[in-house]
Symmetry: none
């Protein structure tokens, strides 16, 4: 095998020095196991010797040995005295590929391949912060829409939106069938500008239930502001807050650059 320093990073070395009560041998074992499972140390390759491990990670030989013995017990490596320890695990890249979804156009196509449940569709008084963003006078109402989008029965997105400027009434069924972008267009509203902010949040009880996950699980948060231009001024007409389940939805974008 190549030099041990070329396999393990300094940050990994530090990992072992953290003062957690998890046994040393187990942390070293985990480190080595990961290196084998992700193919950093390939099948057939010789592992570092107990002595090398002990010196590199600053542990006793007994501890290094214990870690390697654990690997051997799982048949990830084979140990023979005099020869050393060799990897007996064949790394095979996983075929997986999460469904990837892209920008505005693709979002519409995705919408057609998913099921929507409308939880709320009513003219309501929005929270003050959103009312101000929408430029509505005090007491005015906006269309409040809450939906959950699923794919193959698995919910992946929780959508909550506040819309102003929708003249004609829109039925609940329309929102289940069409995207809001399509509805805006049909109503003659020409969006001129959209800003999106992506972040991450922990699921609260409500979201956890909607997206069938655990409280505290990480979610992708997306806030979209949609503007129209009236009298040369930009006016927000739609505020959208989406929470996505990261295992079932990822946000992908392609950028072409350096064309010049």
């Amino acid at each position: 095998m190549s030099s041990i320093a070329e396999i393990f990073s300094e940050s990994q070395l530090r990992e072992l020095q953290q003062d957690r009560p998890t046994p040393l041998y187990f942390r070293l074992y985990s480190l080595l196991k990961h290196a084998i499972l992700d193919g950093t140390i390939g099948n057939g390759a010789q592992m570092p010797t107990e002595q090398q491990l002990a010196e590199t990670f600053g542990v006793s030989r007994i501890t290094a040995k214990r870690a390697m013995d654990e690997l051997a017990a799982e048949e990830l490596v084979q140990r023979r005295r005099g020869r050393g320890t060799h990897v007996t695990y064949e790394y095979t890249p996983k075929p997986v590929r999460a469904p990837l979804v892209g920008m505005l156009q693709e979002i519409e196509s995705m919408a057609r391949h998913s099921e929507v449940k409308v939880l709320e569709c009513k003219k309501q008084t929005p929270p003050a912060r959103i009312r101000e963003l929408l430029g509505l006078p005090d007491g005015d109402k906006a269309l409040h829409l809450v939906r959950v989008r699923s794919r193959d029965g698995q919910p992946f997105g929780h959508y909550e939106s506040w819309s102003a400027g929708l003249g004609k009434p829109v039925s609940k069924r329309d929102f289940a069938r069409f995207t809001r972008l399509e509805i805006f267009r049909k109503q003659g509203l020409k969006l001129t500008h959209v800003t999106q902010t992506i972040s991450a949040v922990a699921a609260d009880e409500n979201l956890a239930a909607s997206l069938q996950t655990e409280v505290g699980a990480p979610l992708i948060s997306l806030v979209r502001h949609s503007f129209i231009t009236v009298a040369k001024r930009e006016q927000l007409v739609d505020y959208l807050q989406v929470f996505y389940h990261p295992d079932r939805f990822q946000y992908q974008m392609d950028l072409e650059i350096d064309k010049a």
Copy 2:
């Protein structure tokens, strides 16, 4: 407090029975700590008694006591004999609002307004998956770079990258001073295509330490593939995985649409 069964889920109960060698008292301590930090057990509320914990989780009273003593040592709870153990931590959902950052160009400008710490900068054997993406033969090495970016002393991003195709050697100091985009350009590499995938993940111990947050806290995950074009074929030359602290970094994009 309410019934102990109403606080902890069955999966959490099982969590303690896992056959990991981490000490029992520490696992119980972690469980309780999270429940306090995320507000499941509110400030001033009474914790379960040692006896209750012991029975619920199937451990001895001493072990339950040890876990609670650890909490008390961190001043998350106050213990008084005869009265019980009470939470002394005020959970406050973060108000958020962070500096907003945008696409490639803005990323460079942001880079200039932040401090970088290089944790790793060495040619190393990459995990097999990444080695294949980079089109490297077995055993080949790539430049492994781990950095943490801070703003006003607050770390907001943890960057780990694997780069192939950097001909001339690049010093650790260069990476602290320039962005990788600039370095690629200087080396004459013309990136022609970039894909980015955004998701959300929970912080592990390592990331939590780097970004000064809690284990399990939601982080923004960004994976960037950077391609050059050689002989009309796209070739990956850089793989970047970034984890952002969502309170200190958000991903914002502006889209102009409906121009037609």
